[in-house]
Amino acid sequence: MTTEKPIRILHIEDNPGEVVLMQAMLKEAGADRFELESVERLSKGLERLASGGVDLVMLDLGLPDSHGLDTFIKVHTQSPQVPIIVLSSVDDESVAIKTVHEGAQDYVVKGQIDAHLLRRTIHYAIERKRAEQALAEQHKLLRTLIDNLPDLIYAKDPQGRLFLNNTAHLRFLGATKREEVLGKTVYDCFPKEIADAFFADEQRVIHSGEPLVNREEASVDRAGRRIWVLTTKVPLHDETGKPLGLVGITRDITTRKQIEQRQNMHSGVTRVLAEAGSLEKAIPKVLECVCETMEWDVGQMWSLDSKTNRMVCVNSYSVPAFGTAELDNARCQTSFASGEGLPGRVWAANQAAWVADLAAEAGSPWGTAIIRAGLRQCMAFPIGDHSGVLSVMVFLSRTMGVMDESLLALMQDIGRQIDQFVQRKNAEDALGEERNLLRSLIDSLPVHIYVKDKEGRFIVVNEEVARFFHVKSPADVAGKTDFDFFSRELAESFRAEEQAVLCSGESIVNREARVTDERGKDRWILTVKVPFRDSRGNIVGLVGATRDITESKEAEEQLRKANAELERSKEELQLSNEQLKAAHLLLFEAEKHHAIGRLAAGVAHEVKNPLATILMGISYLSKTVSAADSNAASVLDEMRHAIKRADTIIAELLEFSSPTRMDSKSEDLNAIITRSLGLVKHELDKHHILVEQKLGENLPPVQVDRNKIEEVFVNVFTNAVHAMLSGSAGKWSPTTFVRVFTTADHPIPSSGMLTVRTYAKMLDSSEVRHDAGDRSGVRLRAGDAVVVTEVDDTGHGIPEDNLPRVFDPFFTTKPTGVGTGLGLTVVKKILEMHSGTIELANRPEGGVRVTIMFKADRR
């Protein structure tokens, strides 16, 4: 105690004797511990207090400038922190007691106190004041604390009446002063159904003594909007265990709850969309998910009907506790045009909307029904893409929820998410279709298509590969390698080729290779192998396509041969064409001569007949004409001469055009035939055709143009050769195979035999043909001596129906390019010019016989 500072005491006392006495008592009590200051008047005392440093006031209530309780109040008011001991006289002790009630620490009655008691009183007063102040500060601190907490804090008595609360609670109740709310119960603050629940909770806590800790519960704010709170209620007891009430702490967790709800909804919708296979399956689940997580009663999907261009409800969900048939009927009966009703407005604005008052919807059956169903709030959002709104989702609730922009934004987002889902589904469908298309494409290609990993294992192959490997399906090939299907040697060569692709990253494009198949047959394959890279560009395998090109290779070879053949045919054709031109020219020449000859002969005949008549007439008249007219005889003579002159002109014309202009001489037909055979010798030898000559001896000569008749025989022989070549050897009898010798001295079969026979004979009438139009008058007649030539071949003959046409110009049975089609026509013309004949007939033993006849020259 000695180490402590001395206690400074302000003694306010107007009686000097009392002051002295006090000083004496304090000295006795231990003067070193007290410093006493005395003032006589209250005003002086208050001044001194204002300057500070006073630890205790000893106050006499009766002062010259103040008296009684008032004195105390003035001092205490000015310095409430300074402890005051009231000095009272015996007669006003009752006033002194009042000062203690007002805040004085103690009082002493003058004259009844000793130093010891005074010292104890002073110490107690100071200590008590100190404790009192500490308590007051603590109380203030706590008060500040609870008033600044955002949680609602309140205390209630056993009857549930509020007797203490903090500022947050005061604000929640909508009051500004504590007095307005003290003594109130939950029934004064909440709707009855909520108040009932709260009151029951309170009573249970108070009477059971069991606290209620951190319970989430729904509540409503003053505006009647739903809020969520977290509540703790703790019972209060006195020392005896008697219930005094409860203390409650309630926290508004609406925001957190909303975030949770929205997160739940969002993740729920996301999950639904992720799991749903199609929009049709997703929509009911989305409606349900949103209703359940957001505590909405009804969810509806309105979609645009492209036929009517109106919104119709395609889907609806109601929470199990809610659902009216009337509402369901109404949604089916209602459709909205753009801008009409809530769905129509959302469609038109392409903007999520919140409607707290549904009265405006009463215009449609749907609106009427939702109002009747007790639904009070509605929110709707569009689903669509840049091209426009396709659907509107509508959610309805009986309770009023807290609405904010972020929820609308969230719902708008969900709308977009659903739209993305639709687009993704469409893209997936398209992708799926594309994949199927691709799959069926590669499966139907007649090419082996395969994907292999770096180890050469098949990952994907097409049907063609499966067929090639004789397995049921492409899946049976997966995981296997070439070593499972090919010979070791071949598989190794493939592997080496693929390693090169995998290491270099360079493709093999259209490499042709010859491989031996399982039957040992050589086959040609055409291969493409391309490295297969992952998304980061690393080579992870290869894609290959292999085609069996054996057939096209063979075809190529055949084509090459065919081309060569064609080239050769072309040359032959050119040659034939030239021959044709020459023959055509010849025919034209022959035809021209023949025609002029026939014309001239005809003209001669027709003109000479009348001339002959005139001549005969003149001859007759000249016998009978009168001798009286000396001129008559000379006139007739001149007429006769004129006729002779005309005859001469006609004869000259005939001479000019007649076939006799040919260089006809008397010739030996055998010699002509021998020469002609010589001309075709090359052709006969080339085709290994044997020639048999049976030429008659002592044949009469024939009057012919040698060169032209040689041409006839060359033509006939050449035809025979061609006929024998075109006849397939298989049809011939073995006797036509004749042993001939080649340089290799091996017998080879001949292609046929040409027989030429000549003889002379007399024609009988059955062999004579008559051409009624022929005015030349020169032809073979029965009884004529003729020289006959027969040319036989061993070909396959001429179809009977072709026989009448063989002399027609351009008629031919030979392949294009082999004959001109004019040969026999020319032959026939030449023979007609010689008054000869030609006939073709099939021989009974096969082949053709050509019979040519010339009139024997008798002169």
């Binding site: 001669a604 007949n609 009348p610 002959a612 001859s619 005859d647 001469t648 005939l654 009884g783």
Partner: protein, 124 residues
């Protein structure tokens, strides 16, 4: 003396009539005209000519055919036949007719004198 019978086979009616007039006026000839080649043989059988003048160019059955038919007829084959034809020019007319392929030919433009000569030379 019996007139020599001559059969003229010619489709030209004017010429054959002129020939008949001339020959009948020139001598003692009995001339018969046959304008159709097809009836020539029948007419010859009935008429029994000493000589037949035969036109070459005639429709249907021509002179060549008629000659062949006559040759094959036992009764008629000995009757001399002379082709009287416009095909033979005046220059080719020779006495007795041109012989070609065993037959005599005389041009239609032969003079009356030449024709008469030819008749006399060929009638046996």
């Amino acid at each position: 003396m019996e007139k020599k019978r001559i059969l003229v086979v010619d489709d030209d009616r004017s010429f054959s009539r002129m020939l008949k007039l001339n020959l009948e006026s020139a001598g003692a000839y009995d001339i018969r005209i046959e304008n159709a080649g097809a009836r020539a043989v029948a007419t010859a059988r009935e008429f029994r000519p000493h000589l037949i003048f035969l036109d070459v160019i005639m429709p249907e059955v021509d002179g060549g055919d008629v000659a062949a038919q006559l040759k094959e007829d036992a009764e008629l084959k000995e009757i001399p036949v002379v082709f009287l034809t416009a095909l033979v020019s005046g220059q080719e007319n020779v006495v007795g007719g041109l012989i070609r392929s065993g037959y005599r030919f005389i041009g239609k433009l032969a003079s009356e004198k030449e024709i008469l000569q030819c008749i006399e030379e060929n009638i046996r």
